[in-house]
């Protein structure tokens, strides 16, 4: 939804194809391509710590994009995204170990399996809205969590299950450096997928259902189908993200996929910007780096003469959680439209300087 004013002088569009691109301008497109190109060389420069952070951003980013499609674009709500993420993780490990399917096929398969489960739990969405739907998806969260604990054939019960590394043509992606490329590929692929979805027929239908469902129905959009499909696609993304998580860590246990994770996904989407694809990624980067930055900051503080306060140093774990809560509140008050909106305003500022608009 770019305004004409954001386009540089002389950038004329002479065909509908040129006017229908993912990126607003050529500069942005080339810049994005450059960043992705440079990112390919990251493993040669950066150490494992940063690669781990990137991989984390990648699998959480994929799952969060799914949630944004559901919450931001379709206007539904889900408190069970963490459980779907976990389901994807277990499903991929289970498919791989029980049926000996190669891992790189298991990951998309886990996505589709999670999609089926997500649509099953999304069925109430066709009937109920708002808070009631939130409670229904909360139920999904607990049911799936309970399922992880009980279904030993699937998840290994309380012991958890092992996940093999991704293997392609005999090469195992079992180090941070090698898995980094899979993470990068998946991230780029899934985000392009999302961008294309939102500029084609079904993506528009999602937004139509969000903005005015009554007139969407009059315009020929099947409400129930799209509400359910949105749940499906959101779970598909969660499943892919979860499967990558499983094969990266090599081990999945049920403890991680709690309601806290679901809330964290929601926080990422809200901080990044509801209904914005690039905002999702910003939100995820922010949420992943926030605790790391806090840890780094406290680490530096500890070495100074004044900063070695036991309350801060020992309470770091609590401070991290409090910081997340605080950030969500601050964003809701000062920037409810998220980082994407803030970014747009910064861009406008430079564009129109010295005028305000």
């Amino acid at each position: 939804m770019s305004s004409l004013a954001m386009r540089p002088c002389g950038d004329f569009r002479t065909s509908y194809k040129q006017d229908n691109t993912i990126f607003e301008t050529k500069t942005i497109r080339w810049f994005t391509a450059l960043v992705i190109g440079l990112a390919c060389f990251a493993p040669f420069i950066l150490d494992a710590y940063y690669l781990t952070l990137f991989i984390q951003i990648s699998y959480l980013g994929i799952a969060a994009l799914g949630l944004n499609i559901l919450v931001g674009f379709t206007g539904q709500i889900s408190l069970g995204h963490g459980a779907f993420f976990g389901f994807g993780a277990f499903a991929s490990a289970w498919l791989n170990t029980s049926f000996n399917i190669p891992v790189f096929i298991c990951i998309p398969m886990a996505g589709f399996l999670t999609m089926a489960v997500g649509m099953m739990f999304g069925m109430p969405a066709a009937r109920i809205k708002g808070l009631y739907l939130a409670i229904a998806t909360l139920a999904a969260q607990f049911i799936i969590e309970d399922f992880f604990g009980r279904a030993e054939w699937f998840s290994g019960g309380s012991a958890g299950s092992m996940a093999n590394p991704v293997e392609l043509f005999g090469f195992a992606f079992d180090t941070d450096e090698s898995f980094y490329y899979i993470a990068l590929f998946a991230l780029v692929f899934m985000y392009i997928w999302g961008c294309n979805l939102m500029r084609s027929r079904d993506g528009r239908a999602f937004v139509a259902v969000r903005d005015h469902y009554l007139s969407a129905e009059i315009m020929g959009v099947k409400l129930n189908k799209y509400r359910l499909l949105s749940f499906g696609i959101s779970s598909f993304y969660a499943g892919i993200g979860g499967a990558m998580y499983a094969h990266y860590l090599g081990y999945v246990s049920a403890e991680g996929f709690t309601i806290f994770m679901s809330v964290q996904f929601l926080a990422m989407v809200i901080i990044g910007g509801l209904g914005s694809i690039k905002g999702t990624l910003m939100g995820v980067v922010f949420m992943v780096l926030l605790p790391e930055a806090l840890e780094g900051g406290v680490g530096i503080m500890k070495d100074t003469s004044w900063g070695n306060i036991p309350m801060v140093v020992d309470g770091l774990a609590y401070i991290k959680e409090m910081a997340i809560g605080l950030v969500i509140i601050l964003f809701l008050i000062f920037e409810p439209e998220g980082l994407a909106h803030r970014w747009q305003q910064i861009k406008n500022y430079w564009k129109f300087y010295p005028f305000s608009y």
């Binding site: 939804m1 770019s2 305004s3 004409l4 509908y16 194809k17 229908n20 392009i192 997928w193 999302g194 294309n196 979805l197 500029r199 084609s200 027929r201 079904d202 993506g203 528009r204 239908a205 937004v207 139509a208 969000r210 903005d211 005015h212 009554l214 007139s215 969407a216 129905e217 009059i218 315009m219 020929g220 959009v221 099947k222 409400l223 499909l229 696609i233 209904g275």
Partner: protein, 265 residues
Amino acid sequence: MTDTILKVDQISLAFGGVKALTDVSFDVKTGSVFSIIGPNGAGKTSMLNCISGRYRPNSGSIHFDDRNVTNLRPNDRADLGIGRTFQNLALFGHMSVLDNIMVGRHHLMKNNWLTGPLYWASPAQKEELQHRREVEEIIDFLDITHVRKAVAGTLSYGLRKRVELARAMALKPKLILLDEPMAGMNLEEKEDMARYILDLNEEFGITVVMIEHDMGVVMDISHEVMVLDFGKKLISGLPEDVMADEHVRQAYLGLEENEQLQEVV
């Protein structure tokens, strides 16, 4: 194609004890402009809602193009070719004007959540661009080229009404239902809108069913007028005949003072 595009037969609709419509029947001829008038609360919008599928009548039937559509869902009626605009604006506020109108093409397009995202590797791109072309023709027709990239929620009232008309036209409907297309407009905007309605009726061959309070416009552009009062049909027929009818004047148009006296006497 038959002569009658829409056949409404003995429609009754009640909300609890409130009878919104009682045994209303009328036919709309293919290619005509059919206006529904009446005082507020007469059931005009309820009638449109029955035709477009938002309400399901308690009894009676609606035939569109010789097909019984009484129990179809609104989205299925869109497939058949019934488009509508709303009295209170119902645009998709956060979408661009262009996307709003493209939603109207929804039922004519085929790409889905699997082929759409594979944009370049599937027929999706071609389809999108082809429909974009047709949508641009509608945009051109309604003179909204300058706002096509603007967010719909930021537009002025008159423009939003036009965008809504564009969205309904994008459905490629055979029948278009307009709920007070000229409410809240100034004279110039009304004239423009009347011209658009006539053009879409004559050039595009779309049959129009319209609710409107501006009697001047109704009398000028409609082929047939129906009057509703308290959920009942008073009369339908040529605009002049309806104008002249005594009951209509009493219920809606208002009597002149000396006529009123005659009534009483």
